[in-house]
């Protein structure tokens, strides 16, 4: 029986999952540490929301600004809606058909539940997920637009409408894909897609500009002078036509009186009901595309859990599979572990590697531009600044470490190597990679400029140690609390609290190491310059050497600590999350 309310069993499932989610949270809170994480997470989230709202209120000078919503605001709302719709439609490309999680998809497809009811169920789930965003943006809009409550309700209704359009688009896209699949096998689809994208972009630009590009120059010029008018832009015939469908919602959001608001609100509500039911009744068999979407999302979630730029991010290709990876760390057990890790990086991480190479190229160009100004200080800055930026970016971005190998921990623990050596072997390939990229960039820059600052030697000496400190510390702390979180999973607030605590721990430990290495060096420098006849330049070398030795000692300590964390890791207790 088709009904707007959907299948009763799926309504029951929603209820049970909601109660189950609360119960899981409650069960987690049996340990005090989870309470601490939760409280911290709530504080972080609350401060973020409060800062957004307060910022909004302060900028507008009150809860509901007295200034009337002008045509500029009206145009801005329309453009914002267009952007939101485009983002939703783009999102539909990665959720073709109806997305159902792995535990639901086969169960629901083999059960006596109509496909329309399944779509209704997913729509309701998506709408519930949009509630928070709707409320947040609604309150934000209420503080910035003169309509107050009308802006709030308007934005809220809009936020609950756009996901329906996204789902409708995902269904139709899946259907088109199914139909095209039969024909597409015989077509060079890759070439066709690229040509289409270029045609759409060029066509769009030509249409908007009325076939000349002067508008871009004007827009950029105006924008730089602060004279760009969104209202004027929205009045262009083509832009105006594109924005026209959003008129009722823009009117509703920018309404200032009940008489202005009610008709558009009723229209938006009616549209919402029609869109909801119309989407549920789109006659499409989405099973195959949904199965593939569900598998894709599961893979993506797994990749996200392994870290943003880990080796698991890329796919093995025939080209990378054919690459021979040398045993650069020796032939023993240590070398074998490091080779295993290097192979995984080389064969599995084409995307992150290309991205890193682009960033490093950009940084090299930046450094060269600074160095070429000629003065000594600028030459040093041109070397040191990109080296620091490159190291920080790569250390934070590339995650070829324990995060991506948590599933292998039970195997890894059986390998015949001391834990500290095993720890070092696992992180060494990443450290070497970062050093090669950054030091290579410095050398390339020196060759380009034609000279090098003597201080760059210090940068060369300290950069590998700093990289080792960062990566070893990061991994030791991760092994201490091996939790990987992917967006959308349970316990977001607790994870936020935990992440904040771990970040503070990392900062505290890094500061302690810096103090351990540089405080005695500073003392030596002070004594040498104060009590002997050494010049500051001469005193810098022994002090720097001492700092280097102490930093190296701290790194040895970190590797030992990492080994201890590895030994402490219990594959039964610390199972991958």
């Amino acid at each position: 029986m088709e009904s707007f309310l959907g299948n009763p069993a799926l309504r029951l499932l929603m209820r049970l999952k909601f109660v189950g989610g609360l119960r899981r949270q409650a069960r987690r809170l049996k340990e005090p540490k989870h309470w601490i994480f939760l409280i911290l997470g709530v504080l972080v989230a609350f401060s973020w929301i409060a800062s957004v709202l307060m910022g909004s209120v302060l900028r507008s000078g009150g809860l509901a600004p007295a200034v009337s919503n002008g045509p500029g605001t009206y145009a801005a709302v329309k453009v914002a809606m267009l952007v939101l719709t485009i983002l939703t439609v783009i999102g539909a490309f990665s959720h073709r058909g109806v997305y159902l999680p792995k535990e639901e998809i086969e169960l629901c497809f083999s059960a006596p539940i109509s496909r329309s009811d399944l779509v209704r169920y997913r729509l309701v789930v998506n709408l519930l997920k949009s509630l928070f965003a709707g409320l947040l943006f609604g309150v934000g809009a209420a503080t910035r637009l003169s309509g107050g409550i009308y802006a709030f309700v308007g934005v809220f209704v809009t936020f609950l409408t756009i996901p329906i359009l996204g789902q409708a688009f995902a269904l139709m896209l899946g259907d088109t894909e199914n139909k095209l699949a039969r024909v597409s096998r015989k077509l060079p689809l890759g070439v066709v897609t690229r040509v289409l994208v270029i045609v759409v972009i060029v066509g769009g630009v030509l249409l908007v500009s009325g076939q000349d590009f002067s508008f871009l120059e004007k827009m950029l010029g105006d924008s730089a002078r602060g004279g760009f008018s969104l209202e004027e832009f929205a009045r262009r015939p083509v832009v105006s036509a594109v924005l026209a469908p959003f008129t009722p919602w823009a009117r509703m959001i920018t309404a200032e009186t009940a008489a202005d608001f009610v008709p558009w609100f009723l229209f938006a509500l009616g549209f919402w009901f029609l869109a909801f039911e119309g989407t549920a009744r789109i006659p499409v068999d989405y099973r195959e595309t949904s199965l593939s979407t569900s598998a894709d999302v599961a893979k993506r979630l797994n990749r996200m859990r392994r870290g943003a730029f880990g080796p698991g991010q890329g796919n093995l290709t025939k080209t990378t599979l054919g690459w021979d990876v040398p045993w650069i760390f020796g032939r023993g057990a240590f070398g074998a572990v490091a080779w295993h890790k290097t192979t995984s990086i080389v064969r599995n991480s084409r995307g992150p590697m290309i991205l890193s190479a682009i960033v490093i190229l950009f940084i090299t160009l930046l450094g060269t531009a600074i160095s070429r100004r000629g003065e000594d200080a600028q030459l040093f800055m041109g070397t040191a600044l990109p080296a620091a930026m490159g190291t920080l970016y790569l250390c934070a971005g590339l995650r070829f470490d324990f995060r991506s190998d948590l599933e292998l921990m039970d195997r890894l623990k059986t390998w015949p190597l001391r834990p500290s050596l095993l720890f070092l072997a696992m992180i060494l390939p990443e450290i070497v990679l970062v050093c090669i990229l950054v030091l290579g960039s410095m050398l390339a820059q020196a060759a380009w400029v034609g000279r090098i600052h003597p201080g760059a030697v210090a940068v060369f000496a300290i950069q590998p140690l700093f990289t080792l400190t960062w990566v070893a510390l990061d991994n030791a702390v991760f092994l201490f609390s091996p939790v990987r979180y992917a967006p959308g999973e349970d316990g977001a607030l607790q994870n936020m609290g935990r992440a904040m605590l771990l970040m503070l721990l990392r900062v505290a430990l890094m500061s302690a190491i810096a103090l351990f290495a540089f405080a005695p060096a500073w003392l030596v420098y002070y004594l040498l310059t104060d009590m002997t006849e050494m010049t500051p330049g001469q005193a810098l070398w022994p002090a720097g050497a001492l700092a280097w030795v102490l930093c190296a000692a701290a790194d040895v300590g970190l590797v030992v600590a990492g080994g201890w964390m590895l030994r402490r890791f219990d594959v039964a207790r610390d199972k991958p999350v």
């Binding site: 009763p8 069993a9 029951l12 499932l13 049970l16 999952k17 189950g20 989610g21 119960r23 899981r24 069960r27 792995k102 535990e103 639901e104 998809i105 086969e106 497809f109 083999s110 059960a111 006596p112 539940i113 109509s114 096998r185 068999d285 099973r287 195959e288 199965l291 349970d490």
Partner: protein
């Protein structure tokens, strides 16, 4: 090769099956039984992925109370067949009838009569065992489900796990929970893909007993497994598929007669001989 076509769309003659069963070392469950209705009928089923034919022109029927063992190497098309019959994958070519309902024309009626047990059941992480059963009962419209749920939980030794969350269950317990949920509505057709993987010896014994008792209650069971001893022990008939095509359909005795000239031989030996890659 045996012809399994029934004389009428929903009836199979008892005699060939009975004869075969009495000749084979199986329980002669239906010796004197009246002609049984066909519960599951698959006609000319084919499925292609891109240009690769996963299953080609597969036809078979399973009668009420019968257990059909589906056997084949990895990639032979067993799971694709079961998932298509279960309505998880769209039916590309051919027709499927479940308890007399066409899977395409009367999809919901057909699925009401069906139960699907995948090889790796995924329970809801935040729902308890009891809540899984409650949801299964709601899906299949079973109103008086509590007593049967208790009985199933006891059969599969899950009674003391009622309040355990899906995310806390071991692989074997997840499998047992899937059995309980699937059998709650007394399905006419049960499709099982590697149902015993992950079960301990006691769990395997319970599952075997439960499958047999399900068949005794009149359900048609299609059992896909690589455990050939299990198939030999439980199945009334065998369907062997190789590279997406039906290689054999009939009883174990007929299989021996066809491939061994009536001589003894285990299913494993015969299966390996049939599916052996040809030299050159």
């Amino acid at each position: 090769m045996a012809d399994d076509r029934p004389e009428s769309p929903h009836e199979v003659p008892a005699s060939p099956l009975s004869e075969a069963i009495s000749a084979a070392p199986l329980e002669p469950r239906v010796d004197d039984a009246p002609p049984r209705r066909v519960a599951l009928s698959v006609e000319g089923f084919s499925k292609t992925y891109d240009e690769h034919a996963a299953v080609r022109d597969l036809t078979f029927h399973v009668a009420e109370g019968e257990i059909l063992g589906l056997v084949g190497a990895n990639g032979a098309g067993k799971t694709t067949t079961l998932r298509s019959v279960a309505g998880i994958l769209p039916l590309q070519y051919g027709s499927v009838s479940i308890c007399g309902h066409d899977l395409v024309k009367s999809e919901l009626q057909a699925k009401k009569c069906l139960a699907w047990i995948p090889d790796d059941p995924q329970p809801f992480e935040s729902l308890t065992v009891d809540e899984h059963l409650r949801f299964a009962a709601a899906m299949y419209g079973v109103t008086d489900w509590r007593a049967r749920a208790d009985q199933l939980l006891a059969t599969f030794e899950l009674t003391d796990k009622r309040t355990a969350l899906g995310g806390e269950l071991s692989r074997g317990m997840r499998q047992k929970l899937a059995f309980c949920c699937a059998w709650l509505h007394k399905p006419g057709v049960v499709l099982m893909d590697e149902p015993l993987s992950g079960l301990d010896p006691r769990g395997i014994r319970s599952a075997k007993d439960a499958i047999e008792s399900l068949a005794r209650e009149g359900s048609a069971v299609v059992l896909s497994s690589h455990l050939l001893e299990l198939i030999e022990e439980l199945a009334d008939r065998l369907l062997i598929v190789h590279k997406g095509q039906k290689v054999f359909l009939g009883t174990l005795a007929e299989l021996r007669a066809t491939f061994r000239g009536g001589h003894d031989g285990s299913l494993e030996e015969i299966f390996l001989a049939i599916t052996e890659p040809k030299a050159g």
